[in-house]
């Protein structure tokens, strides 16, 4: 077994001049390509018994976060379109005012004592995940003059192989900040960029409760190769 090669333009480069934090952190040397070994084909089993799920960031016993409640759902698939069951999906985000519940975030926007901004869910047999949260706010960052991050939710995913590990961000449709954002625009391929943007979904929307957004994620697929691993 092996992993399918990464499609050209689908992934951002490590050296991205428009994103200042890459300047001193990108390696100068190209990575060394290795044939996957058992180490890269296996993966940690991230189960709900070890890592309890939390599918509601917006409300809990005796508390409710400020902001526009939303439901986000989608499927986790491999590149062949096969659903990945039991994928662990971690999410984290700013509050409705654009402030993270994080000591290093000093943006002058109110903290919400009822919003931590961290959740964890697992995909079902069809690859579906779902959680309820509030729509985060945009926030400034100092990358360049008057720089603002588009509204986004951070995602961390564990699939069924180590090489499927992915951290990404989900954006919202129609955000005027998207064309201005160096991080979003580091992805060279336009179609690949657009797949980081969730779509409004009336089927996920719940009447009298919350708007729904759909965000599907594709993790690297495996393919058989002549170089079979004996294990």
């Amino acid at each position: 077994m092996s992993y399918a090669p990464v499609a050209p333009g689908s992934q951002p480069p490590l050296d991205a001049p428009a994103y200042g934090s890459t300047h001193k952190r990108h390696p100068d040397q190209a990575p060394i390509r290795i044939a996957p070994t058992l180490t890269e084909l296996a993966a940690p089993r991230m189960t709900e018994s070890l890592y309890p799920s939390n599918a509601n960031l917006a409300k809990g016993p005796g508390w409710e976060a400020q902001g526009e409640r939303i439901i986000v759902a989608g499927r986790v698939l491999d590149e062949a379109g096969r659903p990945l069951q039991g994928a662990m999906v971690e999410v984290w985000q700013a509050n409705a005012a654009g402030r993270y519940n994080h000591e290093r975030d000093q943006h002058d926007a109110p903290l919400d004592p009822n919003f931590k901004g961290e959740g964890r869910v697992f995909t079902d047999a069809e690859g579906w995940y779902r959680y309820t949260t509030i729509r985060p706010g945009a926030y400034p960052w100092r990358n360049h003059h008057n720089a603002w991050r588009p509204v986004h939710i951070h995602y961390s995913l564990f699939g069924q192989g180590f090489a499927q590990r992915l951290i990404t961000q989900m954006y919202f449709p129609g955000d005027p900040l998207l064309p201005l954002d160096p991080i979003f625009n580091c992805v060279p391929d336009e179609a690949a960029r657009s797949r980081l943007v969730a779509s409004f979904d009336l089927d996920i929307t719940q009447p009298e409760y919350a708007l729904g957004y759909r965000f599907d994620i594709v993790l690297r697929g495996r393919q058989a190769t002549p170089m079979e691993n004996p294990a």
Binding site: V6, A7, S10, Q11, P12, P13, L14, Y19, S21, T22, H23, K24, R25, P27, D28, Q29, P31, I32, R33, I34, A35, P36, T37, L38, T39, E40, P44, R45, M46, L50, E79, W92, A94, Y100, N101, H102, R104, D105, K116, E118, H154, S156, F162, A163, R165, I167, T168, Q169, I183, D189, A192, R193, R195, L196, V218, L219, R220, G221, N229, A231
Partner: protein
């Protein structure tokens, strides 16, 4: 086409659970599993030699028998501190079977996520003095002059250090599959 990676950014600590850096924690999945207890530590620095104080380091390894499908849960996560240092407590992995009739030397995979990294950097930690290092297929894919960036040195009993340099002189070898 797989979904594009994006940076974990500076606020990923919302998914930091410091206890995950101790794979042998009393209430954790590996309590009671036998093996050689080790501490793995290192300092992550950037192209100026400045510490990366906001990085997330993830560990992935086999069990002491070199298996990935046994009872041992070989996953950990650690935030670097103000000096850029990470520290894991775990069991030393055994040799892992490779293609052909050979074994990979004992190794731990380290993945780095951080502000300024648009996708993770993946490297391996090997142990100095292991006879299997000489025939390890991944070490042998690395030019000899840079191989040392993957080999941890002992630093006191049961403690191994591997510093990670993201850029410039002595730059760590990063791997891609």
């Amino acid at each position: 086409m797989s979904t594009a990676s994006q940076t974990a950014g500076p606020y990923w600590h919302l998914i930091d659970f410091p206890e995950w850096a101790d794979l042998l924690r009393g209430d954790g999945p590996n309590a009671g599993i036998a093996g050689e207890r080790i501490t793995l530590l290192g300092r992550v620095t950037d192209g100026d030699g400045a510490p990366c104080a906001d990085a997330m380091v993830e560990l992935w390894q086999a069990d002491p028998e070199g298996q990935y499908d046994g009872a041992f849960h070989g996953f950990g996560r650690c935030a670097t501190d103000a000096n850029g240092e990470f520290r894991f407590t775990t069991l030393k992995p055994g040799p892992v079977r490779a293609a052909g009739n050979v074994f990979q030397a004992p190794h731990v995979t380290l993945s780095l996520f951080a502000r300024g990294l648009l996708s993770q950097l993946v490297t391996r930690l090997y142990f100095a003095g292991e006879a299997l290092n000489e025939q390890d297929p991944v070490l042998n894919a690395v030019p000899a002059a840079r191989r040392g960036t993957l080999i941890a040195r002992p630093e006191g009993p049961g403690t191994w250090r591997l510093d990670i340099r993201l850029q410039g002189e002595g730059e760590t070898v990063f791997l891609e599959v």
